[in-house]
């Protein structure tokens, strides 16, 4: 369970990005004067604010539900077992459905069969984060990563790129 620390009031926003948002985006402007030297920076801050709900965002939240499972198990021992029992009846057929769905997906991307295994190996070298997403056995590593928030989000961003690259290469192949 996360209990956030509350530091109280600071004299200024703590990050340079927040300060820049105040002094570059807000405040008076003199229309007739162009601030040539700052144009690049303004573009950067505007870029950073563009937020698009994307597949990567959804995958990130799906991934968060995997971590939720781990936390639930450590916080309350009775409940996950109960849920497991409740869903056990339907679980095997659901899993099967999901797996055959995945197979269809993969064959859709690669045409008929092809070099699926080679591609998987490449993925793993390119992006550990993505491999972690597929393999529950690495979940314990994911948990320790949570302690360093920055490190984790950097990893996620790379994983996201991996996903995009792979989709792009699949598009080229099909």
């Amino acid at each position: 369970m996360t209990v956030q620390s509350y530091a109280g009031r600071a004299p200024r926003p703590s990050s340079l990005a927040d300060v820049l948002e105040l002094v570059l985006d807000k405040g008076l402007v003199i229309d007739a004067y162009v601030r040539v030297s700052l144009v690049g920076i303004e573009l950067l801050t505007i870029d950073a604010r563009i937020v698009v709900a994307s597949v990567d965002t959804y995958l990130r939240f799906a991934e968060a539900t995997n971590r939720l499972d781990l936390q639930a198990a450590s916080n309350s021992e009775g409940l996950p077992q109960m849920i497991g029992e409740l869903t056990e009846g339907g679980a095997s057929s659901k899993t099967k459905g999901a797996l055959s769905g995945a197979a269809e997906e993969v064959s859709g991307w690669f045409g008929s069969g092809g070099d699926e295994d080679d591609d998987e190996g490449e993925d793993e070298q390119r992006s550990n984060g993505d491999a972690r997403r597929r393999r529950p056995s690495r979940a314990s590593a994911g948990r320790s990563e949570r302690r360093s928030r920055d490190g984790d989000s950097g990893r996620r961003a790379r994983a996201g790129n991996g996903q995009r690259q792979r989709r792009a290469s699949r598009d080229e192949e099909s």
């Binding site: 200024r12 340079l16 807000k26 700052l38 995958l59 995997n66 997906e105 997403r133 393999r135």
Partner: protein
């Protein structure tokens, strides 16, 4: 070139701190208004210069009312600046009356995604069932995306509710409030215009929001600062 920091009333005593590029500051006056300026050449948004801009404006605020210019605003010379002050005098005087005696406080609301996911999934039996069926690496990619989309939508709804509570509580302790979207994981950047005698109440409001929502939201609370967000 003159770098301009802010507009003050001509009776404002000015500031003593140095400005960008370690240049001394002074006041250029025109009628009822004045502007705090310093010499500048080839100004870039370097950290120390951005901080110098803040230093000048914060001291100006300590000594009276100030309308902050954006960082990097430059004019050719003092006569050009006087022209600007004359042309915009009524606008600037209106703004000074509006923000007079007040300061800006900012509250950035940052969401803890994992904790928000936990809240929405555990409180919604239907969603919990979806998660138990579709989570994990065994699920098809499309199923995981669909699940993530549902969870993201539920988390956004929760954040929207939280944000309504936050803005409602903060608005009652300030004269004006501006809520702007922010880059994730932040969900909003809130600017408040408040009188100094309202600050203790505002401190309490932010602390109580932390008590209520602190498990899934972090509050980055800063100020007092010049009214950057209320002068446009």
């Amino acid at each position: 070139m003159l770098c301009v920091y802010g507009v003050v009333r001509s009776a404002h005593p000015g500031v003593e701190v140095t400005g960008v590029q370690s240049q001394p500051t002074w006041k250029v006056c025109s009628g009822e208004l004045g502007a705090i300026v310093s010499e500048a050449s080839d100004l870039l948004a370097r950290r120390r210069d951005v901080e110098a801009h803040l230093d000048v404006l914060e001291q100006a605020l300590d000594r009276g009312d100030v309308l902050p210019y954006r960082f990097g605003t430059v004019v050719d010379d003092a006569p050009a600046l006087c022209g600007v002050l004359e042309r915009s005098a009524s606008h600037y005087l209106d703004l000074l009356a509006r923000i007079g005696g007040r300061v800006q406080m900012t509250v950035k609301v940052v969401r803890d995604d994992d904790e928000s996911v936990r809240t929405v999934v555990t409180s919604d039996p239907h969603l919990r069932q979806q998660v138990s069926l579709r989570r994990g690496s065994a699920a098809a990619w499309t199923d995981r995306v669909a699940l993530g989309e549902r969870v993201a939508a539920a988390v956004d709804r929760l954040s929207q509710q939280d944000l309504e509570l936050i803005t409602h509580r903060l608005a009652t302790t300030a004269d004006a409030i501006e809520v702007a979207p922010a880059q994730p994981p932040a969900i909003a950047s809130i600017a408040l215009l408040a009188r100094p005698d309202q600050l203790a109440e505002l401190d309490n409001a932010v602390a109580s929001l932390h008590d209520t929502l602190g498990q899934r939201m972090r509050f980055e609370y800063a100020g007092p600062m010049p009214a950057y967000s209320f002068v446009s």
